[in-house]
């Protein structure tokens, strides 16, 4: 028996009736089935912390979680390839439970395959998509709120209002990114640093965001190879050991538009990731020697610093202004230039930079780096890593 064998079990099952025309949304079917299974297991929705479904499912985890009263999720995963995914969902759940990444994982699949989109009819002339992800945009795009910059700007304005942050506070993040990119030959903005005045003078994209608050758009690829730490020791480079790896989806989670929470100045899903990373690694903010923080837009770097415990809520603007993100500062940040300066590769290039930092090979290598914290996209269900030098 290998690895996780015997470490997990199925404790509850639940379904809707099976019909030719359910008369309800696919999301509702998913909610009914999930609630039934959770009840069958003798649990409450708020006990669930992991979800697995098919990539083919129209009911994204966040819609099911929000509707059924689940709260924080630490594991969510999807399996591709249609019906081939079925047992794979259970395998994912078992792996998560066996490794302690999640305690209660729900696997689900729900659709109106007869009354809605019939796979048997083929792909031509399909009806307009009205699944839960598409319907989520119904509250945004008719009003002209349709780009990531606009979605982030809504959080940024409220953050400024509550904490007294200014556009210049966001601009300082861009200046650090571009300063680091300027000495990185791989960066798009190599040798092209900016000043705070440049930032302030750049045109509006979506007030309060200037052009220079927004990352570039990039064509490119980035890959990473993961092996056991033991095997890594026999390979050419010093290992960047995965000391922590965590996912997070917060209470009342939406895609970049979680505007309905009691407060919108924080990024609770990032706090959830951070707490797991520190628990897994046995380390804390003080042990982090550098940070690669997701920077598609500068304003959301500030609450990341707060959620990850580098400063108190509302104090990130001072933490940045004091120079802590610089190479000689307390927490050297985005030493590759970030997505504003190096490239926008959906955060994957940042993980590579964290590996270089642990190896000691960054073009902007600070001294004495052992542990690096890395974050993924903000405003969405997210993830993070703590990579460290071999001990």
């Amino acid at each position: 028996m290998s690895g996780f064998s015997g470490a997990a079990a199925i404790a509850g099952i639940g379904a809707t009736e099976f019909s030719k025309d359910s008369g309800r949304s696919e999301l509702r079917l998913a909610c009914e089935a999930v609630l039934a299974a959770v009840a069958d297991a003798g649990l409450k929705p708020s006990d669930v912390d992991g979800m697995v479904t098919f990539t083919a499912d129209t009911n994204a985890e966040i819609h099911v979680a929000r509707s059924t009263g689940m709260r924080d999720l630490t594991f969510f995963s999807r399996i591709p390839h249609g019906g081939g995914a079925a047992c794979g969902t259970v395998q994912q759940a078992a792996l998560a439970v066996a490794t302690g990444v999640a305690d209660v994982v729900v696997c689900y699949r729900a659709f109106n395959e007869r009354s809605g989109v019939r796979y048997g009819l083929g792909q031509a002339d399909g009806p307009a998509e009205t699944g839960a992800d598409s319907a989520a945009y119904a509250w945004l795009t008719p009003f002209g709120l349709s780009t990531p910059a606009q979605w982030v700007a809504m959080f940024a304005r409220r953050y400024m209002h509550e904490y007294g942050a200014t556009s210049e506070d966001f601009g300082r993040v861009a200046v650090v990114d571009r300063r680091h990119a300027a000495t990185n030959p791989a960066a798009w903005f190599y040798r092209r640093p900016i000043t705070l005045e440049d930032h302030q003078a750049s045109r509006w994209i979506a007030e309060p965001l200037h052009l220079l608050d927004c990352c570039q758009e990039t064509d490119g690829g980035q890959a990473l190879v993961v092996v056991s730490a033991e095997r890594a020791r026999d390979l050419p480079h010093p290992p960047a050991v995965v000391l922590g790896a965590a996912q997070g989806s917060g209470d009342d989670q939406h895609m970049m538009t979680s505007y309905y929470r009691p407060r919108i100045t924080g990024i609770p899903e990032m706090g959830l990731v951070g707490r797991q990373l520190y628990a897994q690694s046995g380390l804390g903010p003080a042990d982090m020697d550098a940070a690669i923080l997701y920077d598609h837009f500068t304003p959301l770097v500030l609450p990341q610093l707060e959620e990850l415990g580098f400063c108190a809520p509302g104090e990130a603007k001072d933490f940045v202004a004091e120079g802590n993100l610089e190479l000689g500062g307390r927490l050297p940040f985005n030493t590759h230039g970030g997505q504003l300066g190096e490239a926008y590769l959906h955060g994957m290039n940042g993980i590579a930079e964290a590996v270089r930092l642990v190896r000691g090979t960054s073009v902007n290598q600070p001294e004495g780096v052992r542990n690096v914290i890395v974050t993924a996209g903000t405003g969405v269900p997210t993830s993070g890593l703590v990579l460290g030098a071999d001990r």
Binding site: S25, A128, G144, A206
Partner: protein, 311 residues
């Protein structure tokens, strides 16, 4: 160069006599087509019984006696409109065209009738410009109201009717692309249907009474799948807002204000602010509901500053 003011009093249609005299068959056809059963248009004796000299023509036929007829219509607008038109008409058309007022819509017609027409009358008409308004902004576009007076006279040159006729000659508004369509499904259709009736509603759990927006199929608090919709008061305040500049979508005017408004009921929604300049918007600003009929299929709740209503 001629200006619009100079046109007051200019003749745009010289005296023109209708092709047929007033006659009983045309009166009868007209009355039948209109469903008008008044015997004074059909029955000579009945008309005489009312003290009239015989069958009379309905007043609404006044224009019909001087219409140019089918041939002029099918030969195209130039042949129709300009056959017999005065130099004044051509000059005015040229001026309007030069200024881009390429579209036209009739907005008013006021008649003043001096006497009823009887069979045998010959009707003529002459049209003179009364006034041309300064440029106005209208729902259709920017344009000028052209008011003319058409004087209808009989075979003796006596006035039988005067018609004040008003056209809006305008530059059509640049057609905007329709706003992005919401994906309407079983979970949110009620909200968009209510919006079409200009009602802002909030989904309410039938189990525990909790309001929720955006809506969903079941209640995160009590798990109930039953719900109804409460009508919102339409009052709230700006919770946050953005001013969009780039990229531009052809459905919107920029800069575009998008706000998250917190309703008095406690739920929030994404919306647009109207009646306020981007620089005047503040978080916490009280706002009230207004409606935007974006197009025939889509009505959306928007908000304006509360003070704007009082003003």
């Amino acid at each position: 160069m001629t200006s619009y003011e100079d046109f007051a009093g200019r003749e745009i249609l010289p005296l023109w006599e209708g092709p047929d005299p007033v006659n009983v068959p045309m009166i009868r056809h007209w009355a039948e087509a209109m469903g008008d059963r008044n015997p004074i248009y059909r029955d000579d004796a009945a008309a005489r019984a009312t003290g009239r000299p015989g069958i009379v023509a309905p007043a609404s036929m006044m224009q019909a006696w001087t219409m140019r007829g089918y041939a002029a219509t099918v030969e195209g607008p130039d042949a129709g409109a300009r056959a017999g038109a005065a130099a004044g008409a051509r000059e005015l058309d040229g001026l309007l065209e030069k200024d881009g007022y390429t579209s036209v819509v009739a907005t008013d017609s006021e008649f003043e009738f001096h006497r009823e027409l009887v069979a045998g009358d010959r009707v003529s008409v002459r049209e003179v410009v009364e006034s041309i308004s300064p440029e106005k902004s209208t729902a259709l576009g920017t344009g000028r109201f052209v008011t003319t007076v058409r004087t209808y006279t009989d075979q003796d040159g006596e006035v039988v009717a005067v018609q004040r006729w008003r056209l809006l000659r305008f530059r059509p508004k640049e057609a905007r692309a329709p706003r992005p369509r919401p994906a309407v499904n079983r979970d949110n259709a009620f909200w968009f249907e209510a919006a079409r009736e200009h009602r802002l509603v909030i989904q309410r759990c039938a189990g525990c009474g909790t309001l929720r927006h955006p809506p969903g199929p079941c209640c995160p608090h009590c798990g109930s799948f039953d719900w109804d919709a409460a009508e919102a008061s339409g009052r709230g305040q700006v919770y946050s807002f953005v001013v969009n500049h780039h990229p531009r979508h052809p459905a919107f005017e920029y800069p575009l204000i998008v706000a998250v408004v917190e309703l008095d009921e406690g739920t929030r929604l994404v919306t647009n602010l109207v009646g306020v300049e981007p620089g005047e918007v503040e978080i916490g600003m009280p706002v009230v509901l207004d409606w935007l009929d974006a197009d025939p299929d889509l009505s959306l709740p928007v908000f304006r500053p509360q003070s704007g209503i009082a003003a």
